[in-house]
């Protein structure tokens, strides 16, 4: 249990890496917030028309791009073992999401499952990334 807690809290990470990771987390939170807020405002018809939708999509895209840039910067300066764990987690997340999407597409054609929405895909990606990250850290501990 201690190993898992340490893995979640990234115990022992150099201060610079921890600071960069916090920046990435904040941008990720902001990106998710702009996405949820945009979709909610559209559903509640607070935002109407193409121009407004393009404006909020641009905001979401801008925050997303800053998130990607800060994540790349974090990876470049990151402790080398942690970097390898991050790469493995990214690869696992992409692979798991693709496989799950493929299987679900076949099953949804015969109405055994429902088609995955984009938000469900984001959730699967995020979840498999987090699980792979923790598993990688526990394995190396």
């Amino acid at each position: 249990m201690g190993k898992i807690t340490d893995a979640i809290l990234i115990k022992g990470l150099p201060a610079t890496d921890a600071r960069n990771a916090n920046k990435v987390n904040l941008w990720a939170l902001l990106w998710a917030a702009t996405l949820v807020l945009s979709l909610t405002m559209q559903e509640m018809q607070i935002i109407q028309g193409a121009a407004m939708s393009v404006a909020i999509a641009s905001l979401n895209l801008a925050v997303g791009m800053i998130l990607v840039i800060s994540y790349r910067r974090m990876l470049i300066t990151l402790d080398e073992m942690e970097r390898r764990i991050q790469y493995n987690a990214l690869a696992s997340a992409v692979a798991a999401s693709l496989l799950l999407y493929g299987v679900n597409s076949i099953l949804s054609n015969v109405a055994l499952t429902e088609e995955l929405s984009s938000s469900q895909m984001i959730m699967i990606l995020s979840l498999t990334y987090c699980v792979s990250l923790i598993a990688g850290r526990v394995r190396m501990a």
Binding site: G12, P14, M81, E82, R137, M140, A141
Partner: protein, 66 residues
């Protein structure tokens, strides 16, 4: 890959945290290298070589080598 990092570190009287700080990596990385769970990059191996004033092959060795 096998390594003598633990014995060299002990000989110098350094803790894992000391060595991590001197090599510019996390303590977790030092723990994983010492346990043989993680193979360091070439730049890190050279850094260790300079730090202990030993050739790389005296610190790290290929376990598959004949």
């Amino acid at each position: 890959m096998n390594n003598k990092l633990k014995s060299l570190r002990s000989y110098k009287g350094w803790t894992q945290a000391d060595l991590a700080s001197l090599l510019g990596v996390s303590r977790q990385t030092i723990i994983a290298i010492e346990k043989g769970k993680f193979d360091p990059s070439l730049p890190l191996a050279f850094k260790a070589s300079r730090l202990f004033a030993l050739p790389i092959e005296q610190i790290f060795s290929d376990q598959d080598a004949i």
